[in-house]
C-alpha cells in the first residue's frame, strides 16, 4: 500500500503544504482504502465459495474421514515426528555435502586454459548426467544397485546410500546455480583483481566467489528447500523417515490422514526456512547499501 504522509508540519523552514498536495494525498488515501476493501471482500467470497463447494460435495463425509481424521492424526503425529528427525539429519549432512561438491564442480567448469580441459569436461559431463537423471531412478540405482555389487567394505545402509543419491543429483543442480553466479560477476572485476597482482586463484577466492555466492543465495535456498522435501524419497529404500512412518500407519486401515500430517509437517518446516533466507538476503542488502558497519 502506498505510504501517505499526513500533512507534514513545517520542516523548520516555514514550508506549508499547498492545497494541491493536500488534495493529492486525500485522493491517494481514498484509493488505498478502496483497494483494501475490494481485496478483503474478494478473499472472503472466494473462501466461502471453496468451503461450500467442498463441504457440499457428495463425497465429503467419506473424504473427511479418510484424509482429515483427528484420531488418526493424533496417532500418527508422534511417529511422523520421530521419522522427521531422520529427514532433518539427512538435510543437514546432504545440504553441506551438496554445497561443497556443487561449488567445486562450478569452479571446475569455469576454469580457463587448455590445461584444465579434462577437468572442465568431466564437470560438465557430471552436471549434464545427474541433472537429467530423474532423482527417483538415481535413488533406485544407488540404493539397490550398489549393495548388489557386494563390494567389500561398501555400506549397504539405505540411509547412507539414499543420502549419496541425493547428493549426486542435487550437487549437479547447485553447481549450475553457482556457475551462473560466477559468470554473472563482470569480467572487469577479475581484471581489476589481476591488475593488482592477485593470482587467478586469489582473484576467484577474494573477488569473484564472494560476489557470486551473494547473488545466488535465494536460488540456492530454493534448492535446499527442495532437497528437504526430497529427503522423503529415501523411504523407498526402506529407511523409516517421516513419509515412511506415515505410510506404515496409512497402510494398516487405508486411512490417508498420516500422509496429510506428514505433508503439513514438511510445509511447517520449509516456511521458517524461507523466512530465514529472506531475512539473510535483506540483511546482506542492507549492509551493502548502508556501509560503514565494518
Amino acid at each position: 500500500m502506498l505510504k501517505t504522509r499526513t500533512a507534514p508540519e513545517a520542516d523548520g523552514d516555514g514550508y506549508v503544504p499547498s492545497a494541491r498536495r493536500i488534495e493529492r494525498e486525500r485522493f491517494r488515501r481514498t484509493r488505498a482504502r478502496r483497494a483494501t476493501a475490494v481485496a478483503a471482500l474478494s478473499t472472503l467470497v472466494t473462501g466461502a465459495v471453496l468451503f461450500l463447494v467442498i463441504t457440499r460435495s457428495p463425497g465429503w463425509p467419506r473424504t473427511r474421514e479418510t484424509f482429515f481424521s483427528p484420531e488418526y492424526a493424533r496417532m500418527a503425529l508422534p511417529k511422523v515426528l520421530d521419522g522427521l528427525l531422520l529427514n532433518l539429519r539427512l538435510l543437514v549432512v546432504c545440504g553441506a555435502a551438496v554445497l561443497v561438491l556443487g561449488l567445486l564442480l562450478a569452479v571446475a567448469r569455469t576454469l580457463r586454459g587448455p590445461v584444465f580441459f579434462p577437468l572442465r569436461a568431466l564437470a560438465a559431463a557430471y552436471t549434464d548426467f545427474f541433472r537429467g537423471l530423474p532423482l527417483i531412478i538415481c535413488l533406485l540405482m544407488v540404493v539397490f544397485g550398489v549393495p548388489a555389487l557386494r563390494l567389500q567394505g561398501v555400506t549397504t545402509d539405505p540411509v547412507l546410500l539414499g543420502g549419496t543419491a541425493l547428493v549426486l543429483t542435487y550437487s549437479a543442480y547447485v553447481a549450475e546455480v553457482f556457475r551462473a553466479g560466477i559468470e554473472s560477476v563482470h569480467p572487469s572485476q577479475r581484471a581489476a583483481a589481476r591488475s593488482l597482482g592477485l593470482s587467478g586463484g586469489q582473484a576467484l577466492r577474494f573477488v569473484v566467489l564472494p560476489q557470486a555466492v551473494r547473488r545466488v543465495v535465494p536460488p540456492l535456498l530454493n534448492d535446499l528447500v527442495s532437497l528437504q522435501k526430497d529427503t522423503g524419497l529415501v523411504s523407498i529404500a526402506g529407511a523409516v523417515d517421516a513419509v515412511y512412518a506415515a505410510q506404515i500407519i496409512a497402510g494398516k486401515d487405508f486411512n490417508f490422514t498420516p500422509y496429510v500430517v506428514a505433508g503439513l509437517v514438511f510445509v511447517a518446516l520449509t516456511i521458517p526456512m524461507t523466512r530465514c533466507t529472506d531475512w539473510i538476503t535483506a540483511r546482506m542488502d542492507r549492509r551493502r547499501a548502508q556501509g560503514g558497519l565494518v
Binding site: 572487469s188 572485476q189 581484471a191 581489476a192 583483481a193 589481476r194 591488475s195 593488482l196 597482482g197 592477485l198 593470482s199 586469489q202 577474494f206 573477488v207 564472494p210 560476489q211 551473494r214 551493502r288 547499501a289 548502508q290 556501509g291 560503514g292 558497519l293 565494518v294
Partner: protein, 270 residues
C-alpha cells in the same frame, strides 16, 4: 605522495622524453595486437617511457589506447613484438605474470572497485594477500593515503555510497597501495560527470609532482597538454606521432594529428 622508486628523483628530470632519464621504465618494441581474425588493434607500436615522466596517449575512440595499456599490464596477450619493464622482457611466456602486475598499478575507466568490500578492504586486499603485509600496517598505510586524497572519513563505506569522483580516487589509492613502479591510467575521467573531473585530475597532477611514472590514455586534451612530458598520437593502431607536449599540440607534424586536434578544438575541448 611517496612512491617507492629505487632511485631518488633528480629534480630536473621531468623535462621530457628527450631528456636522458636513464633506462626507460616501460618500453614497447614493434608491438602487434589483433582481435579475432584480422582486426589489427596495434600495429608495430614503439614507445619508451622514461622514469618520472608522464606519457599521454591521445587519439580517437578505437585507436588502440586502452588496448595498449591492457597489453602493458599483460591483461591482453600481444601477437608480436616485446614489452619491457625496467629492461626486463615481460611478454616472455616464462615471465611471472603476477609478479609483473605487482609492479604496475592500473586505474580503469569504470573504477572497477570491488562492490562487496569496504573502501579500506578494497585498498588493503592486494598489500595483504599479494605482498603479505600485516593487516594493521596495510590499513595504516591505506588510511594515510586516503587522508591525503581527502577521503579520510570514507574508509568504512562501501563503494556504491561514494560519488564517481570519490570512487575513482579510491581506485587510484588502491593502485598506489602496492607501491607500483608504473601507473597506467585508462581514461579515468571518461565516466565522470564534468564537475567531478577536476578532483581526479588534481590527484594525477600531485602524483606527477611526486615523480610517479605514468601512462595516461585520455580524451582530456587540455590536461594532456599540461601534464604530459611525452604525447603519443594513435590512429588506427599506429603511433602516428610522438613528441613533447609542445611539439604535438603546438606544431603537429602529421595531417591526421592536425585534423584530430582541430576536431577537438571545434568541439571546444582544448
Amino acid at each position: 605522495m611517496s612512491t617507492t622508486d629505487d632511485t631518488p628523483r633528480p629534480a630536473a628530470e621531468t623535462a621530457g622524453p628527450a631528456a636522458p632519464g636513464g633506462r626507460p621504465v616501460l618500453r614497447l618494441e614493434s608491438v602487434r595486437k589483433t582481435y579475432g581474425r584480422g582486426t589489427v588493434v596495434l600495429r608495430d607500436v614503439d614507445l619508451e617511457v622514461p622514469p618520472h615522466t608522464v606519457t599521454a596517449l591521445i587519439g580517437a575512440s578505437g585507436s588502440g589506447k586502452s588496448t595498449l595499456l591492457r597489453c602493458a599490464n599483460l591483461l591482453e596477450e600481444i601477437d608480436d613484438g616485446a614489452i619491457f619493464l625496467d629492461g626486463e622482457e615481460i611478454t616472455d611466456p616464462r615471465a611471472d605474470v603476477d609478479a609483473v602486475r605487482r609492479r604496475i598499478g592500473v586505474v580503469f575507466q569504470a573504477y572497477n572497485l570491488f562492490p562487496h568490500m569496504t573502501v579500506l578492504d578494497n585498498i588493503t586486499l592486494a598489500p595483504r594477500r599479494v605482498h603479505g603485509m600485516p593487516r594493521a600496517e596495510a590499513e595504516e598505510r591505506a588510511r594515510e593515503l586516503l587522508e591525503r586524497l581527502g577521503l579520510g572519513g570514507r574508509a568504512g563505506e562501501y563503494p556504491d555510497r561514494l560519488s564517481g569522483g570519490q570512487q575513482q580516487r579510491v581506485a587510484i589509492v588502491r593502485a598506489l597501495a602496492g607501491r607500483p613502479r608504473l601507473l597506467l591510467l585508462d581514461e579515468i575521467t571518461a565516466a565522470l560527470d564534468p564537475e567531478l573531473v577536476g578532483e581526479v585530475l588534481e590527484v594525477v597532477r600531485e602524483l606527477k609532482t611526486d615523480g610517479m611514472t605514468m601512462v595516461i590514455a585520455t580524451h582530456e586534451m587540455g590536461f594532456a597538454r599540461e601534464v604530459a612530458d611525452q604525447v603519443c598520437f594513435l590512429d588506427g593502431g599506429v603511433v602516428l606521432e610522438r613528441g613533447t607536449s609542445e611539439q604535438v599540440f603546438g606544431a603537429p607534424r602529421h595531417d591526421r594529428t592536425r585534423q584530430f586536434l582541430q576536431r577537438i578544438i571545434r568541439a571546444g575541448r582544448l
